[in-house]
Amino acid sequence: MSAVDNIPHIPEKSPMSFRSVINNAGIGIALLLMILFFSVASEHFLSANNITNILTQITINLILAVGMTFVILIGGIDLSVGSVMAFAAVVAGKAITLPGLGATELIILAVLAGVIAGMVCGILNGVVSAYWSLPSFIITLGMLNIARGAALQISEAQTIYSFPFAFEEFGSMLIYGVPVVFLVALALVVIAWFVLNRTVFGRLIYGIGNNEEAVRLAGHPVFWYKVAAFSICGLTAGIAAIIYMARLNISSPIAGIGFELNAIAAVIIGGTSLSGGRGSVIGTLLGAFIIGVLANGLILIGLSDFVRQMITGLVIVIAVILDHYRAKYSAS
């Protein structure tokens, strides 16, 4: 059999990642140009302190955006992550301030409580929208309100504080100037990349976003994959809640308002298609960096926060227009 002759001679490690590198090159170049511009425009931009700042600032958004990538890849959207983060933070805050337990027990309990609270919200989002084939836009809009209300109810609209010292310390710990919380976010990016590119699960996440019916007819349980994508998004909202608490040393029921939009923006700027099936978590990482660098740099060169907001909005629109052409180009 001449099967071997048909195998291309080019080493193909992973067809997906090769493609994602090409797709991400443009975003990476845009980010580099931005960094170049700000480092020329402001002498403080590349200072060690400021870099630490940027990394700290993008951490929460990056964590939320990693989960959001899964949901958007299957063609869904999750508007509830900001509220779910607050809900998870309040649940974890209640757990971590329980009387009569040691610091280690409290921290473990709080992390578990927060992560489980986030996942439960995500599972509900996924089950309801997938079972009845309802638009996740509406279902998660409902969850946005439900989770926010629950957070306010449980906390009686009070901010929770006085956490164990070790927990607070973790939030501000640096390794060679790099915040440990950012390393957590980076680890999530790596795990997500691995899952999306190297596992059957990830393959089918892409597949569902591209052609759900083909995946269903190939015998795969599409319903459970969709639920999984939403629960991963809830899970990352839970993790974001813990990071948020560790950084600010409080847990507030009004935390995370509007965070869902920043997370969606990072995913979209990162080149993931809103209609699903195309994109990568590496793009999401770059997208989160672009938003963070813009926010930081524009303030440093003396523009107001209002102008920063306008420019960020512009970047989102430009990213989607570019994506439109990229999709057209790759289709032809």
């Binding site: 001449s2 099967a3 007819l217 099936g277």
Partner: protein
């Protein structure tokens, strides 16, 4: 009788990318007649309607309306000339009222430029009364009406402006018998008012019931125009098929037919067939059983129900004699059934993914361990599957979208063959595939049959079924009309059954 025609079409030609949709179409429409257009799917009827209604431009030939050259550049131009079409699929806005739908093309306005609701309702009332539809309230939303009423409202809309020619494209496809009768009464009323009606239908009894003349299409040509009084349904079928029956020869031997029944379907009722006779048949090991029939005859529904792609109302599926419970594609695949779907872009391929990823989609277990993909193994499998099917491609990492139709279809086949099915369901396996690839696919399917794979092939191309299949089952109206064994094959017999013209005793070899 020398009446000058209202509309005359001569030697009309129109092609789409090398395929001649209209290859010399000529016919004349006399004022005030009901004229039927009949022919197989793809014979050119729909293209002609689209040319007449200004959707497509024609390339050669001539159309004259009232003796003057007529070349509609847009649907609007055709409407101005008095040609109205009621399409097979509805163009109604379901949440708007009947009156709003009827006036959608030209909403009446008050002097202030606001919508004149009273005038709109008055016009709609008049339009409905004109076709005898006085029992419908013009203010009700279209959504609350049944299919038949929606159809009639489309007709009322088409007729309210000065229309001289009304084209009805398969108007009865979704109607019950009573509703059809009502439609016919309305058509008779329209005719009495001097409007000329063009009636496209697959149902010959309807054509013979209400039409004055009939024009038969075949392969983009008009074969004959006859007075209905001068012909019989059998004559019309003969025109559709053509005198020369080219019966492609099959290897012919039944040596490859194995012993025993591979798939047995017993009293299957699909959701499209809640009331008709249920479907039952046996598929022998290594047999290729064709299912012929017109679009909408229920062929795809049967395949989808067997595979569990859609829920079924009733019925039993047995594989190798033992009943299997199939509630979804997963069960079917586990039982050894594969399903090559009709529409490879919508249901078969993940176009934005590499060839190798598409080829492994059904049997991902074979290219992974504990959920981790083994890309080397995946490429190897895809290369083997590709070599087996003579797949032509650049790299396995190329997107499926980059392949030609025939090669895309081979990827779909490779995907299913990777799971080594015992029974393969194929829906239009060579649609949109060029002639060379078609022959290759036939070869592949025959090889599979020789290896003992049993196949159920739905196709709208009769030569394909005649070439490929050991037996041909003909469906119409969700029911099996008859089954033909190889010695009985002829396009004419198949068409007779497909148009519900006769019942044939089921003959099963051995």
């Amino acid at each position: 009788m020398t009446v000058s025609p209202l509309l005359s079409v001569t030697h009309l030609r129109k092609s789409f990318g090398g395929i001649h949709a209209l290859d010399g179409v000529s016919f004349e429409l006399l004022a005030g007649e009901v004229h039927a257009l009949v022919g197989e799917n793809g014979a050119g009827k729909s293209t002609l309607i689209k040319v007449l209604s200004g959707v497509h431009m024609f390339e050669a030939g001539e159309i004259t309306l009232d003796g003057a050259p007529f070349r509609p550049a847009s649907p609007h131009a055709a409407k101005l000339a008095g040609i109205q079409v009621v399409h097979q699929e509805f163009n109604l806005l379901n949440d708007l009222s009947v009156a709003e739908n009827i006036s959608i093309e030209a909403m009446p306005k008050t002097r202030l430029g606001l919508l004149d609701r009273a005038e709109m309702n008055r016009r709609a009332r008049a339009a409905l009364d004109a076709i005898g539809l006085s029992d419908v309230d013009v203010t009700t939303p279209v959504r609350s009406l049944g299919i038949a009423h929606r159809q009639l409202i489309e007709i009322a809309r088409a007729l309210q402006s000065e229309s001289r020619i009304l084209i009805l494209d398969e108007p009865t496809a979704t109607l019950t018998e009573r509703e059809t009768e009502r439609l016919f009464e309305i058509v008779a009323g329209i005719k009495a008012k001097g409007v000329t009606v063009v009636f496209v239908s697959h149902h010959l009894e309807e054509v013979f019931g209400i039409c004055d003349r009939v024009t038969v299409f075949r392969n983009g040509e008009t074969i004959a125009t006859r007075e209905i009084a001068d012909v019989t349904p059998a004559d019309v079928v003969r025109f559709m098929v053509g005198r020369t029956l080219e019966e492609a020869q099959h290897a012919g031997s039944e040596a490859h037919l194995g012993a025993g029944v591979a798939l047995s379907v017993e009293a299957l009722r699909t959701t499209a067939n809640p009331a008709g006779a249920p479907v039952s048949f046996d598929l022998r090991r290594g047999e290729i059983l064709g299912i012929a029939g017109l679009v909408g005859a229920g062929r795809t529904e049967v395949l989808r129900a067997i595979f569990g792609a859609d829920p079924k109302l009733a019925g039993e599926v047995r594989l190798d004699g033992s009943p299997v419970q199939i509630t979804g594609p997963r069960d079917a695949i586990a039982a050894g059934i594969g399903f090559v779907t009709e529409d490879r872009k919508e249901e078969g391929l993940i176009l934005d993914m590499p060839i190798s990823a598409n080829a492994s989609l059904v049997d991902l277990g074979a290219v992974s361990r504990r959920g981790l993909l083994n890309f080397g193994r995946e490429r190897e499998m895809a290369a083997q599957g590709g070599a087996r099917l003579k797949l032509k491609y650049g790299r396995l990492s190329d997107h499926a979208a980059s392949l030609s139709g025939g090669n895309q279809q081979k990827v779909v086949l490779a995907k299913w063959l990777a799971a080594t099915p015992k029974v393969l369901l194929l829906d239009e396996p060579t649609r949109g595939v060029d002639v060379g690839a078609k022959a290759e696919i036939y070869g592949i399917l025959r090889d599979l049959a020789a290896q003992g794979v049993s196949m159920l092939v739905v196709s709208s191309e009769m030569p394909e079924l005649i070439t490929l299949c050991d037996r041909i089952m003909v469906m119409a109206g969700q029911e099996i009309q008859g089954t033909l064994a190889r010695p009985d094959y002829s396009q004419e017999r198949i068409l007779h059954l497909a148009y519900g013209q006769e019942q044939t005793e089921e003959r099963i070899p051995a």
